[in-house]
């Protein structure tokens, strides 16, 4: 059974008097532990699709089923709870908290996700995950002193440290050069495979496609 199911999802934006239909009834099923790459021309609605799935904005129609529950029927607080404990996010830029060290960023995420760990366990978990993304040596650094690739690795660590069921990534390598992009993709692939995290990833970089289990293409608000 699919852990995540997008069913006839529509989205329209109203700008002034004009209503534009961006998503025209999208269907997509994600299987547990699989990486699904969402590709398509710029402006076709990929980010809109991903953020609706991730509970960051609401659909105008259709259903988003996560673990058998319909997220379109939930209130803000229910969705927030799911986002904090079941989802992880990686975006084009890392969006780290400027005044927290790398270690503190991850500790914060563990707090937000309300994981049942004491301080010592939390620190151990952070050390483990930083090791996985190869950032142990920078755990006391602030984001401003990290390179773009390093920041993105911290962002990935933050996205998976609370062992979410889902990972949503919107062009996670767009700000990185080819070499760094591949490193980051390796990390995402290894982590999601070992932790059995289901991943939906938007990308327009052909080089990233080999890392996906499945590729779907968005065109004019519909999946081809």
């Amino acid at each position: 059974m699919a852990i995540f199911e997008i069913d006839e999802v529509k989205k329209s934006f109203k700008t002034g008097d004009v209503t534009e239909q961006i998503l025209k009834g999208v269907d997509l099923e994600l299987k547990q532990g699989e990486i699904t790459a969402l590709v398509g021309p710029s402006g076709s609605g990929k980010s809109t699709m991903l953020t609706i799935a991730a509970g960051l904005q609401r659909a105008s129609g259709g259903h988003v089923m996560f673990d058998g529950k319909d997220m379109t029927q939930m209130n803000q607080e229910q969705i927030r709870k799911i986002r904090s404990s079941e989802f992880g996010f990686v975006f084009q830029s890392a969006h780290l908290v400027p005044f927290l060290t790398v270690e503190d960023q991850l500790l914060l995420m563990l707090d937000v996700a309300e994981t049942k760990m004491n301080k010592k366990q939390q620190k151990q978990e952070v050390a483990k995950v930083l090791d996985l993304v190869g950032m142990s040596h920078r755990k006391d650094a602030y984001p401003s002193s990290l390179s773009g690739g390093e920041r993105q690795r911290v962002a990935i660590a933050r996205a998976i440290i609370h062992q979410p069921k889902m990972l949503f990534a919107d062009e996670p390598t767009a700000s990185l050069d080819s070499k760094r992009s591949k490193e980051v993709m390796e990390i995402i692939r290894n982590l999601t495979k070992t932790l059995k995290i289901t991943t939906l990833m938007v990308t327009h970089d052909e080089e990233m496609l080999p890392y996906a289990d499945r590729i779907v293409t968005m065109k004019d608000g519909l999946l081809a």
Binding site: S47, T51, L56, Q57, R80, K81, R83, S84, S85, F87, F89, F91, Q92, S93, A94, H95, L96, V97, P98, F99, L100, D104, L108, M109, V112, A113, Y142, P143, S144, R151, R158, D170
Partner: protein, 344 residues
Amino acid sequence: MQMAWKEVKKSKMKFLILGSIIFLVSFLTFIISGLANGLSEDNAALIKNLPNGQFYLNEDADQTYNLSKIDEKQQEDLLKKYTDATAISIQMGFVNDADDKQFSVAFVTATDSKLFPNVKENEIVLDSSLKDDGIKVGDILKNNQFSGEFKVKGFTEKQTYSHAPVAFINMKNYQEIYRVMEMQTVFIPGSDAPDSIKGLESFSNKEFLNTIPSYGAEQMSLNMIIWFLVVISGMLFAIFFYMMNVQKIGLYGILKAIGVKTSKLFSMMWYQMLLITVISLLLSVGLSQVFSMVAPSGMPFSLTMQTTLTLSAVFLVIGFIGATISGFQIKKVEPLQAIQQGEM
């Protein structure tokens, strides 16, 4: 609230600036409040030292005590009926010492009463501030309207009126200097003072203070400055946190996206506001108390701990309101906005 503290630590300069502004504004407020209170004491300690009660002026006196004349028969009746009551007269005047040096004083005379020193004829009791001018017990003082001489009998503490030291004299001497037989006002202490007496207008202590011409105006302008400063500091809080929040909209968005509760973001802001305000207030309370101890004795300054604490509480409330109003932006932030903006 570790996150809030960590931000303060990382952005020391920002919070230091806010802190010093709060410190300066609150310190200024305390000092002005000390001055207002000091001036008020200086202007009216004589009246402020009295217990609560009612003052009665002649109905025709236009609410001005030195135009008021109480009918002698009526005064006699009132003093008989209310045993604690006393009739009082006050006039500004001068005394001259042996070297013919002139001192401005407020001559006060009253019928027998526990509230004022009892002064015999040709005696005078002065406010202790005149000691600084070299006047001692036993000195002889004169007044050009007075045929006799005053012998300084003693001093009282903090008895001033209309910014002048009070000089208590006997009623007979007073009547000679000012050529009036009637007293200006009758004061009945306690709560059993009647609201109205035929032919007289009644004033509470506070209302009576405001009949002193300079008193109301002086206090009003100082109090206005104080409240102005309090309001300004509230606005400073609002503006400062507003600017800080605007800078952090992206951050708030991403924190919301990963599931941080809005209430947690608010408590973060409140914690920072409290931290900064409490530290700044502690400093300015301390410094203003020091100032109050070292203020030159001639300076009318009186700042009680009670006043500083009350004002501090007002500052805290105002800061809280200011920060909270600016915090409504936090509530409005959509996680998506932040992600699409793209930063750090």
